[in-house]
Amino acid sequence: MTIRTELKHSWIIMIKEFRQLFRKKALLVPLFLFPIIMIVFFGYGMGGTVKNAPILIVNDDTGTASGPLVQEIGSYTPKYGGNPMFSITYTKDMSQSEAESKIDAGLYKAVLLIPHDYSDRVAKNESTTLTLLTDSSDTTTSGIIINFMKQFLAKAGPVSLNIPKIYGDLEYLDFLTPAVIALTIFFGSVATTGSAIAGEKQDGTIVRILMTPVSKRSVILGKTLYQLILQLARAVILIFAAFAIMGFKMNGSWLLVALVLVIFTLGGVGLGIVMSAIADDMESFFQLNMLFTLPSMFVTGVFFPLSSIPDWMRYIAYLLPLTYANNAMRAIMIKGQGLNAISTDLIILSLFALITFTAGVRLFRREA
């Protein structure tokens, strides 16, 4: 058979998959809506506002330039809320560790430390760095406060904010969005590929297809093309939704994001084929799927930074491909990093795709 014919067959299979997809309304909704809801749900909490959150400002500034800044923070009242956001306590000469212990004791939700040379530097038009400590046990409030401070200080001139530890200097939405995209694409490609094949095995249609002159290669290629288009479309919709609803800003290269997602989708399709080959029907496929994907969801640092989980969990995380996809997606989308920064992640993800795909093609038999 010529390559042309094989490609034509793949195209036919791909069209068939799309046609079936659009018939399955019950599948379409979670496929596109669920991840958006997830981002809104988690992101909204972070983008909202707080009332009278107790905050300590440690003002070591020897000059007077910090006065108006501090006052403005103290009196800030959000547009649609009657109450000021913060209830502020002022002090000076407190070390960072002492401030941390006050947060741990639950006295404050956050501490803002203003350095002694603040006024000097502002006068010389040099950049200064304020330190913001937040209560990492309350990610919602922390996220809101960090968000607010960042926006607020952006207006105050060359002032940058140092936020130790939490999400490594990321806002929660920034932290969340790239990983939710990776997770969505991965779960989606595994589940839709696997359940479709398991279903086709169950009703005998896949065997029927393989009785025609179509090669196994063409069938797999057709299904893969379908997944690539579907998953990339989901990613674009997600990024757009995060932007439109939450104001998420993409800092890196779209091309690199696409590269990571294509490789990761290939791995997901491969894994879906492998799992559907092991399972005999839909039900056993979904059980197998749960076994693999649930740990991925909680261990790989989608919702919490890897640094916040126990060591033994972290070791499991390093065995799961989603960890590397999260890492790469965050590096590109938030930090705007390039190919160099994600090369290790890309190599591991490519290996994952290669292994699952090879196994999948082998296990995907004509014999049913």
């Binding site: 018939r23 009703d203 005998g204 065997v207 029927r208 009785m211 025609t212 002159p213 014999e367």
Partner: protein
């Protein structure tokens, strides 16, 4: 008569949970060009397994098969386009319409679009499904599915049709209709191979009947001669005599 299918010493052994199952045991026969070839035998006799091997779906453990002069296993690409298959387990996409199922098959067999559309309309009318063309097959009755499966199998105008238990579980009217179809296709010069549980059906329809039991071919001849040889009034008695009385599952 010239053979269109040549089966020699065909054997298939399945490995199932460490146990060897000899589904087909050293079977040899020819199918002649243009005949209706029936295959009867109790459940598990190996009929479907033979079909799967003849249609290039599974590989034999031993023996050789030629279909239209092409070697199964070496020249599958040449064989698949000229055979049409109605599997025992009907396999239609339930979320595609009748027409879409037909088009999918036509496309996968590279039937040119105008020819395909013409054939689809013709065949849908032939089997009385023209008013159901745009319904999802998930809601079809057993008989409708069987009729649709048949025309799915001939949309590329194959030379040989494999038909695995075409009438099992169908009402008498639908069975009659299926027989008529079989004769029609045969009248157009197509070779037809089918399996069945019904002696009456094998008797009425086939030019020759192969009797299978426990993976072995126990008899092969025209229905009349089979009856004569075993001095039986009907094929049912021939069958029981050849395959024993115990019930298989």
């Amino acid at each position: 008569m010239e053979p269109i299918i040549e089966v020699r010493n065909l054997t298939k052994i399945f490995l199932s949970r460490g146990k060897k199952i000899t589904a087909v045991d050293d079977v040899s026969f020819d199918v002649f060009n243009g005949e209706i070839f029936g295959m009867i035998g109790p459940n598990g006799a190996g009929k479907s397994t033979i079909f799967s091997m003849l249609t290039t779906l599974i590989k034999p453990t031993g023996g050789s098969i030629k279909v239209a002069g092409f070697d199964v296993g070496k020249e599958d690409d040449r064989i698949r386009p000229i055979i049409g298959i109605v599997p025992q387990k009907l396999s239609l996409y339930p979320d595609l319409t009748a027409r879409e199922n037909l088009e999918l098959m036509g496309n996968l067999y590279d039937v040119p679009k105008p020819v395909m559309e013409e054939r689809i309309d013709y065949y849908l009318k032939l089997v009385g499904l023209e008013t159901h063309a745009d319904r999802f097959t998930g809601g079809f009755s057993g008989g409708m599915k069987q009729r649709l499966s048949v025309i799915c199998a001939v949309i590329h105008d194959p030379e040989i049709i494999f038909w695995d238990e075409p009438t099992t579980g169908l009402d008498p009217q639908t069975r009659q209709a299926i027989w008529k179809l079989a004769r029609k296709f045969n009248g157009e010069g197509k070779t037809l191979i089918f399996t069945t549980h019904y002696m009456e059906e094998a008797d009425k329809l086939s030019d020759r009947v192969a009797v299978m039991n426990l993976g072995k071919l126990v008899a092969l001849d025209a229905p009349g001669i089979l009856k004569e040889k075993s001095e039986s009034a009907n094929l049912e008695d021939v069958f029981i005599r050849l395959t024993g009385e115990e019930v298989r599952d």
